[in-house]
Symmetry: C2
Subunit: 204 residues, 2 copies
């Protein structure tokens, strides 16, 4: 039984977040429970609730970790390819791969919803913003001359769409009928959307 000062507050929080992450990875979001997490880290529920407001905060931290991993993967993809268009395609595919490889974690991010009255913390929203700004950067390089608002519009449209393909990919295997792999859809989306978008810009 753990005793006082065996671990600092920060250590306990880190352990709890880790435990939550592995729970999500193995059993999915539904497999997370305060008692399970507490037992994993060798403390009791009471201690857990001294370190986190509620279970949602804990899950939020676990999800933020996944988001950070995702961002790292996308940033790596960004640097692996320098030609603007293939770069975006590569980033999109990396996004897709991440969702497939870490299916449970991925699903946890987008399925978890704060109860009414809860507000998403800034440090969490900041991670999501970072994702979007990475895309904005990549789109900007594709058409540096374009208006900033147009870039923003295009990258949000594109990224929402990429996200949609990922969403419908996991869970429902809508595409598992020999014909269209999610990678094919992704390719189709990015090339068509962006080629028309670039072309439109060169006219003006």
């Amino acid at each position: 039984m753990a005793r006082r000062n065996d671990h600092t507050r920060e250590e306990i929080q880190g352990m709890a977040i880790d435990a939550t992450r592995t729970l999500i990875a193995t059993e999915g979001l539904e497999g997370v429970s305060a008692r399970k997490v507490a037992q994993q880290i060798g403390y009791t529920v009471g201690t857990l609730y001294q370190n986190f407001e509620n279970i949602h905060e804990l899950i939020l931290h676990a999800n933020a970790f996944s988001l950070t991993q995702l961002l790292a993967a996308l940033e790596q993809a960004y640097h692996q390819e320098s030609r603007p268009m293939p770069r975006i395609i590569h980033i999109a595919n990396t996004y897709l791969d991440f969702g497939q490889m870490h299916e449970k974690q991925w699903a946890a991010i987008f399925r978890h919803t704060l109860p009414q009255g809860f507000v998403m913390p800034d440090w969490y929203q900041a991670r999501i913003d970072a994702l979007f700004s990475l895309i904005e950067r990549a789109v900007w390089e594709l058409a540096p001359g374009r208006d900033k608002k147009q870039i923003q519009l295009a990258s949000r449209t594109l990224w929402s769409s990429v996200h949609g393909i990922c969403i419908l990919n996991i869970g429902n295997k809508l595409y598992s009928d020999n014909i269209a792999t999610p990678q094919t859809l992704m390719q189709s989306l990015v090339t068509h959307y962006l080629s028309a978008w670039v072309q439109e810009g060169s006219k003006a």
Copy 2:
């Protein structure tokens, strides 16, 4: 207290589904509970469990109802516009509107997940398929000469993307910063993607 033959099995099921729907509409998916539904319809949990395998089946029925409503709205949109390209845009915007107007129901459809071991019933999957085939029809009319597999690929890509925009629209108000309304994103997606796709086809 309800007595035998006050209602038929079918009536009870219908009442339960209705109660579930209003619960979802008012409190969201998390607001649904077996006891609440039972109380609403004037029976007890036991009766509920004689009419439904479990709570997920009940939710699935409520969601199927929403899907039917959605399909009806999309089909109406289909017939409101006959020019192929504006038609698709109109359908997409109708989809978006539906998600905005019935936010809770819409979220319930896409956030609800069957526990492991559960399989999505055929009658439910059929409703989803109907949505996709409506889009396929609309895309086909845009380019009747194209290969069937190409049409399938394009409509799935397009619809996943449309779906993605809807998803990121509800919940996070990512777009609420004066600039880009979801309608603008939708317009941008559909016109750009499809114009490039059509153009590609006319080359071959």
